[in-house]
């Protein structure tokens, strides 16, 4: 399987995609190239045939703990990668390496959202996000706790679906009034039915088994108007994985999202009632078109008190997700203060009334 590299035409150093400038840059001679220039210079890389499935011949000598070994074309060192890695770095010369076989045939992405948020910006987003959290331990925000930071193109399945959805419910109008010593309650019941055809575009589910699904669900949305046709050049300077969870396996997650969305849409069309109780709801998926896309995510792993905490920053929008540790001391102090203030306010009210 071929491993290709994007090397600076001026000095031979590794070219990386610079998210903040949306250009390709060389950290050695500081040259910069536009996307168009890179596509022309690396015409050979861009024209690699990715339509065919590549069978990985893993022989005993290049198999390594479930991963594979490749030869770096820059320094000749051996590069270790796990079975899903599509883009990585040579640990010796730090040049970016793209493993084309992991991006070919069934694994060839249609689309890609390039990184917009660069590394330092992602750290800044994390720090300011943590500052807003009142109840995290003070020591957690320090740089020393940052164990690992990775810019990774995560494999995502994006489903365009047409659904037919149907809901039956009982809607109640309730009116109350007083007359004499009695309170009257008038209830008017209606049989409510809704039937609709709904189109959903780009419902995402990640295709990487090692990444926490809830973390990726929280990281949405990505702005699909910025989706580009896949080009390997965007991967240079970042890590990328191929999917190991296929369309069929992510379908239950997509269905769950569609059910939630359809129910929500139908419920919001039922208005003017005091209460609505749903008796029947069906949501049938009539047609699905798939896109296999690589979406940009910054992963940060923090170590605190012997426990690892994982965070992710949407590499396009900068949205931060993840669960930091909770400082029980701070929460207890806050609740105690709240308790004291409320008690004092009631006491003061009682004093003023007396």
């Amino acid at each position: 399987m071929e491993a290709i590299q994007y090397k600076c035409p001026n000095c031979g150093g590794g070219l990386e995609y610079k998210a903040d400038r949306q250009k390709f840059g060389c950290d050695f001679c500081l040259s910069e190239f536009t996307e168009q220039e890179v596509k022309e210079i690396f015409r050979d890389n861009e024209s690699v045939d990715l339509t065919q499935n590549v069978r990985e011949n893993i022989s005993a000598d290049n198999e390594f703990a479930g991963g594979n070994l490749y030869s770096c074309s820059s320094c000749g060192a051996e590069i270790m990668s796990d079975a899903n890695t599509a883009a990585t770095f040579c640990v010796y010369c730090h040049n970016p390496v793209i493993l084309t076989g992991r991006l070919s045939g069934d694994y060839r992405p249609n689309k890609i959202v390039p990184f917009v948020i660069e590394k330092n910006k992602a750290i800044e987003i994390f720090k300011s996000g943590m500052l807003k959290r009142l109840f995290i331990p003070s020591g957690f925000k320090s740089e020393q706790t940052l164990e690992k930071m990775t810019g990774l193109y995560v494999p995502f399945w994006l489903a365009d679906c047409n659904v037919k959805t149907n809901m039956q419910a009982i809607g109640k109008h309730i009116r109350t009034w007083k007359q004499g010593d009695y309170k009257y309650t008038e209830t008017r019941e209606y049989a409510v039915s809704r039937h609709a055809g709904i189109t959903f575009n780009g419902v995402p589910a990640d295709g990487a088994s090692k990444i926490d699904d809830s973390l990726m669900d929280a990281l949405e949305p990505f702005d699909y108007s910025k989706l580009q046709n896949f080009s390997m050049s965007y991967l240079t300077g970042f890590l990328a994985d191929k999917y190991d969870v296929d369309k069929g396996q992510v379908f239950p997650r997509i269905r769950q999202k569609l059910d939630t969305a359809s129910r929500d849409i139908l419920m919001s069309s039922i208005t003017g009632y005091s209460s609505v109780s749903v008796s029947n709801f069906t949501n049938n998926i009539m047609k699905t078109d798939w896109n296999y896309a690589l979406l940009p995510v910054w992963f940060m792993t923090y170590s605190y008190n012997g426990k690892m905490y994982e965070f992710a920053v949407n590499g396009q929008s900068g949205k931060l997700v993840g669960i930091p540790p909770l400082s029980k001391k701070k929460l207890f102090a806050f609740c105690l203060g709240l308790f004291a203030v409320i008690t004092a306010l009631f006491g003061l009210g009682g004093y003023l009334l007396s």
Partner: protein
């Protein structure tokens, strides 16, 4: 020099006299016992007047105790009008009317800010005075009444603190639980945002009337010491008990 000395002496004497007057007459002179039925001895009356004055001063309100055996109107009206005659309408104070006529409907009339203060304590105050009133020990009755005037508002503060502590505990627990839950789960993005809104097509939207029914429940009447207006025009609170 002699003139200055005289002036200074006069100034300090005036200061002493006026400060003395203001100390003694901090409360309204009308704050006292009105014993039309002659149930108290002169010594008792003197002692009670002194106590009423001190309590009126401490609490900064008008206080009077009226004892009568020939009321020409109902106890409530009698007490309300007596208060207004002594202190004017809607001033801040309280009056205890001890009815020693055959009717024996004793009454507490409150006015101004004191309507709210003693609203919940009229019944407990009568509970405290009942045993003394039953044996016609009016001196003890007045003592209990005056002591209750001081102790019950303190109980209001205690009660408010207790309610505040309960409310504070509930709010604190809810805050602690909701914060802890927020530190356990990532918030999900609503999948509804992937809807192509211009392509959504409702093929059925029916709301058909099924049935109508009406239920009625009796309203529990609240029994409290509400306010009322006297024929003199003032607003009063309070309540009474026949003992």
């Amino acid at each position: 020099m002699k003139y200055i000395k005289k002036t200074l002496i006069l100034f300090f004497m005036a200061l002493f006299v006026f400060s003395g007057v203001s100390e003694v007459k901090a409360y309204d002179a009308a704050c006292k016992l009105y014993d039309a039925a002659d149930v108290f001895t002169a010594d008792e009356e003197k002692s009670i007047n002194k106590k009423i004055g001190r309590y009126a001063d401490d609490l900064d309100i008008n206080i009077a105790v009226v004892v009568a055996d020939d009321k020409d109107k109902g106890s409530r009206e009698y007490a309300d009008l007596y208060y207004e005659k002594l202190f004017g309408i809607n001033t801040d104070g309280i009056l205890l009317f001890i009815d020693v006529s055959k009717d024996r409907l004793h009454w507490i009339s409150t006015s101004g800010s004191q309507i709210k203060v003693y609203k919940s304590y009229i019944d407990p105050m009568f509970d405290d005075m009942t045993s003394s009133l039953r044996v016609n020990d009016y001196s003890d009755t007045v003592d209990i009444f005056l002591n209750d005037l001081k102790s019950y508002p303190k109980k209001t503060i205690f009660k408010s603190l207790l309610i505040g502590a309960l409310a504070g505990a509930v709010v604190s627990i809810i805050t602690a639980v909701s914060v802890t839950l927020k530190y356990k789960k990532n918030e999900k993005y609503s999948p509804r945002n992937y809807e192509a809104k211009d392509k959504t097509n409702f093929t059925e939207k029916n709301d058909n009337f099924l049935r109508e029914y009406t239920t009625k429940t009796r309203i529990e009447s609240s029994s409290g010491n509400g306010t009322h207006r006297s024929s003199g025009g003032g607003t009063h609170g309070g309540g009474g008990r026949r003992i």
